[in-house]
Symmetry: C2
Subunit: 331 residues, 2 copies
């Protein structure tokens, strides 16, 4: 079977793609805000009339039918691969995390295989996440497997940055994840700009210009050097003293947080830094890395857009190679 | 006039006291949650039928009448001294900040004196705050003046810590505030424990015990050493991995934030640290200073409770000494 359904399912987003396994071309794509959290909440509200797996299967059946209608392609019986939060305690089925070190080939992935059933007519490969001593991720490991398969100039070592609500810094040594850290950068930005006293001092805007850039740059420099709990309050002072307008101040706050996140990379000298960002954040993060004088390779946002797909293909290949019986009759 | 009305008016609290000027004894006390913010919001909602000063005066008249009824003491015509947020842009009247260096004697205070009028029968002394290059405070300067007047073993130098929603670190050199920094510790704790993904991993509790203390201690140590954006996520990991229960995790998060705030004091060697905390936070902060091996003098929470009153007395004394005509006929 040369095509499969790739599902990258986050806490607050759902992405379904029809993919050509050889070459990894995305033939069709369906996205929606139906994150795992929302489906889990709905499941809990409906008095748990069915078991959790069946509830999630029913949702997936609906989505695949809608996708089939939209594309006018028969998707019956195709393998579905799910990575991300679908394997968490609020997902289809809670799977244990893989440990460290974790091979970037996809060999060490923890997964569960569901054979096609009356409930759900597709074979389903559910991919779990990875844990460190004091950290967890679900989804970025699959993206990293995809990234490592696609980029050629990686010698198997580096620090891979995945910006986002919960930004991940993944350390790779000898083609294996040796450790990783989560930074709550995006979520803290959202809380501080919406719900804290600073909300009166910032306004987001799509406009750009030298003044906005200058405010971001100063934020990055301050955030990398200063204690964050104290630096936050400077956002208020800059408003009170008229140093920045509220739009510039929003850029300043954004810079503070990204600078604070990236600041400790400067200590990790000798570690090549790879920025693995989608289009939305790529500009901010690559600029911050420049300001902080941290040499880095910026991977294309286009590659990152489909990194989970490429990672899933590697995982399928590994499973087929090492545990062929699992897919017997399905691929 | 030996008695006056002391008002310590914060963003979210209102404290009115009848004070004996000589000796600084608090004879009667009235507190309510009528913070400046609430009165300002009410003023804005009532379509600004009166001007702002008159609106705030009407509120103060009501409060003083209630206080008089409650105590059965005639308070007519007594001097009212207000410090805190009452001099801010959401207070009675917006006053400019005093600059640095700022004498802890009260000599450099910026203030506005309202003579008794038809609107408000009391002479009113409104005390303004202090600004640094990139920071502001309103209220703590008056508390510090009170603290410095009361403690005898201060040689005029030190770092004075005022914990709270917006914790202040005030550096004093030669009896003058040379600089200060605000840490948003309390507000960030509130946001992270109520509104972030961590809210699922913490529960506050009044219970104490060795396990709770151990969690707080570990939080302080981690917070002092680690990047806060990353340390936050460990709260989630400790819940997922069952290392702490949600009550212990709440203590851990509290420790993380206080440790992160106080961590940089360790660098300020040679600077005596004075903890100026109310009863609510004194235990946490003094313990954190011990854990971080930062020698400190813990001032009594009882002193801090009335520090604003003592500071206001020093300010009255200074004004009377240097600008006697202001109080002519009022004191």
């Amino acid at each position: 079977m040369n095509t499969f359904l790739s599902c990258d399912w986050g806490t607050s987003s759902f992405r379904l793609r029809l993919v050509s396994r050889t070459g990894g071309h995305v033939l069709q794509e369906y996205t929606s805000p139906d994150g795992v959290q929302q489906i889990y909440n709905a499941y809990q509200q409906e008095l748990q009339s069915s078991d959790r797996e069946s509830y999630f299967f029913a949702f997936l059946n609906n989505k695949i039918s809608a996708f089939s209608m939209q594309t006018d392609i028969d998707l019956d019986g195709l393998l579905l691969v799910c990575s991300g939060m679908a394997s968490s305690s609020i997902g289809i089925k809670s799977l244990a995390y893989a440990g460290l070190p974790f091979s970037c080939s996809g060999r060490d992935v923890v997964f569960h295989f569901f054979k096609p059933s009356a409930n759900f007519g597709h074979p389903l490969l559910l991919v779990s996440g990875v844990r460190a001593e004091e950290d967890v991720m679900r989804g970025e490991e699959t993206q990293l497997i995809g990234v490592m398969a696609k980029i050629k100039d990686v010698k198997g070592n580096g620090m891979f940055i995945f910006p986002g609500t919960h930004s991940k810094h993944v350390a790779v040594q000898n083609q294996k994840i040796s450790n990783f850290q989560t930074f709550m950068t995006g979520e803290v930005y959202s809380l501080m700009s919406r719900a804290s006293i600073l909300s009166k001092s910032v306004s987001s805007s799509d406009s750009q210009g030298p003044e906005m850039e200058k405010a971001f740059e100063q934020g990055v420099a301050d955030g990398a050097e200063q204690n964050l709990l104290s630096a936050f309050f400077k956002v208020r002072a800059k408003d009170l003293f008229g140093k920045f307008n509220k739009f510039e101040n929003s850029q300043y706050l954004s810079g503070l947080l990204i600078g604070n996140e990236l600041g400790n990379l400067a200590d990790e000298s000798g570690n090549s830094v790879f920025l693995c960002s989608d289009a939305r954040l790529s500009g901010y993060y690559s600029k911050a890395l420049q300001i902080l004088d941290i040499p880095s390779t910026v991977l294309s946002p286009e590659l990152l857009r489909y990194a989970a797909v490429y990672g899933q293909i590697e995982i399928i290949n590994q499973i087929e190679m090492h545990e062929k019986d699992i897919f017997l009759g399905c691929l």
